[in-house]
Symmetry: C2
Subunit: 229 residues, 2 copies
């Protein structure tokens, strides 16, 4: 799998091609199409927000995902709505998949210039049901390894019944953009002497102490891939 992903990435350019949908109408300087940046933003988050249209109205659901090269996977019960819809619809389901990190709170002297520092990726495209059995297994491994790298190899793989109950959607990274804001507030020159504190409150993420299952068998040590978190 990694070999295929590496071959794919070496044969592709370093940036995604902008489209009408991925060029912002405002703050164009915050947009990026850099492939490595997009992958890094995607790999750091746990949950994406998957948008689709049902009965003419938008639906946005949080869901886990995994990445293999330039393809994302999401999964769910074969009975869940977006997965049913993608299976029923040919040629696939139009989706918008968005991932966002909030890195800091930007406090300006003026209310107007308050903002946040963030990194986001927005992907437009068409999601398809994965029907190939091998790809489906690789996708499920990627989903587990996205939660904790190395975990897929240290868990029981899905059996036939579980595979049959799980639907997987694929979405190619093609129409993609990142958007990010960094740095301090952009106050107006005439506001500089106002008596308000200004600056950035950084947000930090971390891990709490592990909570082993109450019924964990004796003698099972915490694996290295968890110690490294």
């Amino acid at each position: 799998m990694s070999t295929a992903a590496e071959q794919q990435s070496t044969s592709q350019p370093d940036a995604y091609t902008p489209t009408d949908r991925t060029v912002p109408t405002r703050s164009k300087e915050r947009a990026s199409y850099d492939r490595a940046l997009v992958h890094a933003i995607l790999d750091e988050a746990y949950v994406c927000h998957l948008g689709f249209v049902r009965d003419g109205a938008p639906v946005v659901l949080p869901t886990l995902y995994g990445r293999v090269g330039d393809r994302l996977y999401v999964h769910g019960s074969t009975g869940s709505r977006p997965l049913r819809m993608a299976g029923q619809q040919d040629p696939g389901l139009a989706v918008c998949l968005t991932v966002t990190h909030v890195d800091g709170l930007v406090l300006a002297r003026s209310a107007f210039h308050h903002s946040i520092n963030y990194r986001s990726v927005v992907i437009h495209g068409t999601a398809h049901q994965v029907t190939d059995a091998d790809e489906k297994r690789r996708a499920l491994d990627a989903l587990v390894d996205h939660v904790v790298p190395g975990r897929a190899a240290d868990s029981r793989p899905a059996n036939a019944k579980e595979l049959a109950a799980t639907a997987v959607l694929s979405l190619d990274l093609a129409e993609v953009s990142a958007k990010l804001r960094t740095g301090g507030p952009n106050d107006e020159p005439e506001d500089m002497d106002l008596p308000h504190w200004s600056g950035v409150v950084p947000l930090q993420k971390g891990y709490g102490p592990l909570v082993p299952s109450a019924d964990l068998a004796a003698g099972i040590d915490v694996p290295d891939y968890l110690r490294e978190l």
Copy 2:
């Protein structure tokens, strides 16, 4: 403002009424319509994911928001796409606004039962441009106070030019549900003796050291509402 919000909340029931769109097809036991829980989830997050339909395709954008009672506000440039669309469309713009917290990684013995602990709120509704000047000012205060409570009163309010450049959308909390997962993995009885560590990796959020603006005037202390973070 708080008086109005309090009046509103005391005159309303403690739960939102479920609808076809807010009753999940699966994991119904994870859904909640409790008003206080919904408000708490909304108030704890910084960014929502706002979904709407453009040219028949879904769009999902991360954006700041603020809450006043049972009404949410998002804002943006008068030139931004969803705000333009909501202004052009009568009666408003169909949206789905979703907020998600990831609280922990759930590592089961089987790949199939891997999950995350999360709390999310999904709101379906119609967003309207706020045209009343007083409501617009209150909405902008709520947006700033959502980032840091108490900050709106300690910053320069928007002037006429800034107000004219800012569009605000309102979305009533009516068709709303929360969904949450807590606790450890739900492994199959036959997997209990497998040699894989299982349990939960809690995710924690915190604040880093404040980064004052480089040009911050001397003698401006860190305000109490920031010390309390």
